[in-house]
């Protein structure tokens, strides 16, 4: 067999393996339901990976407990909490008052709002770019391809080069939802593998602009972002923590006050330093650190992400 056929063959096998792996995992989740009364968690797709990681460590630490994590979106999770099919809802937005009332009625107790992490997105430009701030509308126009030149937003006369993430990325989803109003990105957006790659690209491209978790900002500069009718705010641990930075949000767990102990124990555990370290490793802001100090994410986090991203893409080849 020739080289080409062989590499293609390897690729197809890899895809098949990935497909089988996925199926197996789903099967396991289904079967484990019977043995132990499981803690069912449902909600935000953004939080699935984070909660899954939390659940894995929690289950390791507490033998015999089963935590089942499902996505579906914040709304789905909240609906499941209301109608009783989930013990705990994950939401990347606060619950509405009407939803809280419904839940209180059906579950017989007030709903507890339990923030577990912070999520913030920065807009990056090259260090030599004179632009210091952009409104959210400007950022949207830039990524829609309507604004094509830096001079239109107070920069030099140079074309804007766009960098973004693949559609499979949660960062992509968040940016699309909160900045792009669920609209499409310009086709000219170059999609790179991971936030670290975007920072690297923007860091070496003086006309570049990209977005990603603020923890990665090393080689590129994060812009101040201005929401409508507000002052421009630069992202920092502080502005993210107090909610003034417009592209930050809290990630919540919701559960009824009268929830079983297995629910409350898991929620409490999610705020332990051990769990909050996981929060950082997944790429969000731990609540504790933000409140405590200005300790920025270290270089190692970024390098690790590059390594995992590359490893993940290698399997696909």
């Amino acid at each position: 067999m020739t080289h080409v056929a062989r590499s293609l063959f390897t690729f197809v096998v890899a895809v098949a393996l990935v497909a089988c792996g996925g199926g197996e995992k789903a099967g396991q989740q289904g079967s484990s339901t019977r043995s132990n009364k499981p803690l069912t968690v449902k909600g935000s797709d953004t939080m699935v990976i984070l909660t899954q990681r939390l659940a894995e460590d929690y289950m390791k630490a507490n033998a015999g407990t089963v935590v089942q994590v499902n996505g579906g979106g914040s709304g789905t999770g909240i609906a499941a909490l209301i109608n009783g099919t989930a013990d705990l809802a994950m939401a990347s937005r606060p619950m509405k008052d009407s939803e809280k009332q419904q839940a209180a009625k059906s579950r017989g107790a007030e709903v507890v709002e339990h923030a577990i992490a912070l999520d913030a997105l920065a807009v990056f430009v090259n260090a030599v770019n004179p632009v210091q701030q952009l409104t959210i509308a400007q950022v949207k126009d830039i990524f829609q391809g309507k604004t094509k030149n830096w001079s239109e937003v107070g920069g030099p006369n140079a074309p804007i080069v766009l960098y973004g993430r693949e559609s499979s990325s949660g960062t992509y989803d968040y940016f699309r939802e909160h900045v792009m109003d669920k609209g499409d990105f310009a086709p000219a957006v170059q999609t790179l593998q991971g936030t670290a790659a975007i920072i690297n690209a923007v860091g070496s491209d003086k006309n570049g602009i990209g977005y990603g978790g603020i923890a990665y900002a090393k080689e590129a500069r994060a812009l101040a972002v201005q929401a409508e009718g507000a002052q421009p705010v630069a992202p920092s641990e502080q502005t993210v923590a107090d909610g003034t930075y417009p592209l930050s949000r809290k990630l919540f767990f919701y559960f009824p006050q009268n929830a079983a102990e297995r629910v409350t124990k898991f929620a409490e555990w999610s705020l332990t330093p051990e769990a909050q370290a996981l929060v950082t490793s997944v790429g969000y802001f731990p609540l504790a650190t933000v409140a405590a100090s200005d300790a920025p994410a270290t270089d190692t986090t970024a390098t690790e992400t590059v390594a995992t991203d590359t490893a993940a893409s290698t399997t696909a080849q």
Binding site: M1, V4, V15, V18, S167, S168, T191, S204, D205, S313
Partner: protein, 325 residues
């Protein structure tokens, strides 16, 4: 006595025949397993593509006409032919991606074919034997560099060099990705071309020298044409590799699905799209089927170019044997 010896021979003969049947069977099974495996993979890929033709639900978002014909309103080609499968209104034109694949392949081949053939000519015709013994394994070693390393090099180093040297607007573009791809193609072109050039009978060269031709004239007008089928076969195989190469282009190509013919724009290839999007796609969705359609497309292209390559090698061998006789 005679009957008895005849009996032994018969038994021995029978055992021999049984052994023969057993071994032939074992080897046939092994061979067939490989063939069946390839066939099953193709079947699987094609099965997942099938909804594009049969499932009305999938066809609402992805069908042959949506892949190749449908046009979005807009002035530029990039606005008209769009690959945005996860949009609120999915757009699945394959043109930007096919074009990206072809652009990268074009640049890669443009670099690798002359360089590979020149290197092959040098090592088979001009280089002293001792140097040749170093060059050949060294270039073949190049084939062993993992494409992820090549892609990383192109992403971090090559892109910056090229941008500084030529002032490209986009760091990651078809030139950058194509060059990196070219590095991976050189060993393929070199190895097969070199084998072909070395296989040219010595008598050809001697006849050429006898007529007063220089070394270069001999290499260029006698040896190279005589090995043309091998050289062409190497191009075909390199083409197949270029079309299917994933990692280098995923990393160094910029992955923007632009419908342009400019080599200075970022590009997105078929294989890179599959690699990047397969991870998160909903199984059974239109997007999923579309990705498998791309896979089938790649499969068909590589299969055809490979078969062609094999056929040309066979032709070449027949010609060489004919020349000897």
């Amino acid at each position: 006595m005679t009957t008895r010896s005849l009996g032994t021979t018969g038994r021995r003969e029978r055992r021999r025949l049984f052994q023969n049947a057993l071994m032939t069977g074992a080897f046939s099974v092994a061979g067939w397993v490989a063939i069946v495996f390839i066939f099953l993979i193709f079947l699987f890929t094609f099965k997942e593509t099938l909804p594009i033709f049969s499932d009305p639900h999938v066809r609402e978002e992805a069908s042959l006409s949506k892949f190749f014909v449908e046009k979005q309103p807009g002035e530029t080609l990039t606005e008209q032919y769009v690959w945005q499968p996860t949009s609120e209104k999915p757009k699945v034109s394959l043109w930007p991606i096919i074009l990206g694949t072809l652009k990268a392949t074009f640049v890669g081949m443009l670099f690798a074919c002359p360089v590979g053939v020149a290197a092959a000519l040098f090592s088979s015709e001009f280089a002293p034997r001792r140097l040749r013994e170093v060059i050949k394994p060294a270039i073949e070693l190049l084939a062993g560099i993992p494409s992820v390393v090549m892609g990383f090099f192109a992403l971090i180093v090559l892109a910056t060099w090229l941008q500084n040297a030529f002032g490209f607007t986009y760091r990651l573009n078809a030139i950058n990705a194509g060059l990196a791809l070219g590095f991976a193609l050189v060993p393929i072109v070199y190895t097969i071309s070199e084998d072909g050039l070395s296989a040219v009978p010595k008598a050809y060269r001697e006849a050429s020298y006898a007529l007063g031709a220089t070394k270069f004239q001999t290499a260029w007008t006698v040896v190279l044409p005589a090995a043309a089928p091998a050289v062409f076969a190497s191009f075909v195989l390199a083409f197949g590799r270029a079309i299917g190469e994933t990692m280098i282009l995923l990393m160094a190509g910029g992955n923007a699905a632009l419908t342009t013919f400019s080599l200075f724009d970022p590009l997105r290839t078929l294989s890179a799209t599959i690699a990047a999007e397969m991870g998160e796609v909903v199984v059974g969705s239109a997007h999923y089927s579309a990705l498998f359609f791309m896979g089938t497309l790649l499969f068909v292209i590589t299969f055809v170019s490979n078969t062609l390559g094999q056929w040309i090698i066979a032709q070449m061998q027949r010609r060489m044997q004919g020349a000897k006789a």
